[in-house]
């Protein structure tokens, strides 16, 4: 989980801590580039591809973590 949180943090270029319960859209760093970076992270590291509509249903960092680690 820590590895995911670090990768997520790096992807959105956030200096402060990231927690699973955080609503990522409330981060100051969240914008279209952060979105693209997270989509790329999910694809590159976890082999998960996702349409924008589906991504829009995710609320927390934990929601993304769950998708990434689901078999």
């Amino acid at each position: 989980m820590n590895e995911f949180l670090n990768l997520f943090k790096e992807a959105i270029e956030r200096e402060d801590e990231v927690r699973l319960e955080d609503e990522f859209r409330k981060y100051d760093e969240w914008d279209s580039m952060a979105y693209l970076s997270v989509i790329a992270l999910m694809d590159d590291k976890y082999n998960k591809q996702m349409e924008e509509a589906e991504f829009n249903t995710l609320q927390t960092v934990g929601d993304i973590y769950e998708i990434c680690t689901k078999n």
Partner: protein, 257 residues
Amino acid sequence: MDTLFNPFSLKDKVVVISGAASGIARQCAISCSKMGARLILLDLNGVGLAETMKLVDSPEYHFYSCLNLLDYDKVSQVIKEAVNQVGKINGLLNCAGISTTNLFKITKPEELDKFFHVNVYTAYFLTQECCRVGNWAKEGGSVVFFSSVAGNLGEIGKSTYGMTKAALLNLSKHLACELARRKIRVNSISPGAICTPINMNLPHMKDPEKRAVLEAQHLLGLGEISDVANACIFLLSDASRWVTGTNLFVDGGYSVK
């Protein structure tokens, strides 16, 4: 007069300079140190770097490392080490590069590869490493890519070199867009013909007739390394806080005509 007013000050800014063992980059190191910057100097040439360290102000405040910028893992390791020692980065001068004169019709793929790796890839990945969260200062800063008049204009025998310099110029515009959210400004600088100890022995500088032609092409005559270093100070300092994505010609008027 307010003697403390100096928008060009680099006091306590941490500035990375690649290629700092000689020429323009060495002068940038000297000038930035005089403006109060703390330096992270990188070059393959350890002897030249040590010489640069003797020339900068307050050498004890700076960090230097002899490394091959094509060794990306090593670059990552060295930048982390430097940041731990000197502090988070506020500025980056991508000076390292090589030049050549060769004709299009005889250029081989491996030569293009070499030039793109040394002139473009190294600057690209050094910038990527420096700009990582944790390495770059939270308050933002300034990245400068060294392009050239040859990256903007046509010239016989300069297609290989010119293409790499055009790539850097264009890269700076895209990165200006991507990094603005973190208050990192990105610009390029395009020097004209500069008198350096190395190129003074090249035919176009040494031969009086060829030199006269070259001088005539530059409205203000040939440049000095300090002319480029001073422009870099402007781009690194808060004096240029509203300048990003631009290309600054420092060419004595070469590109005007």
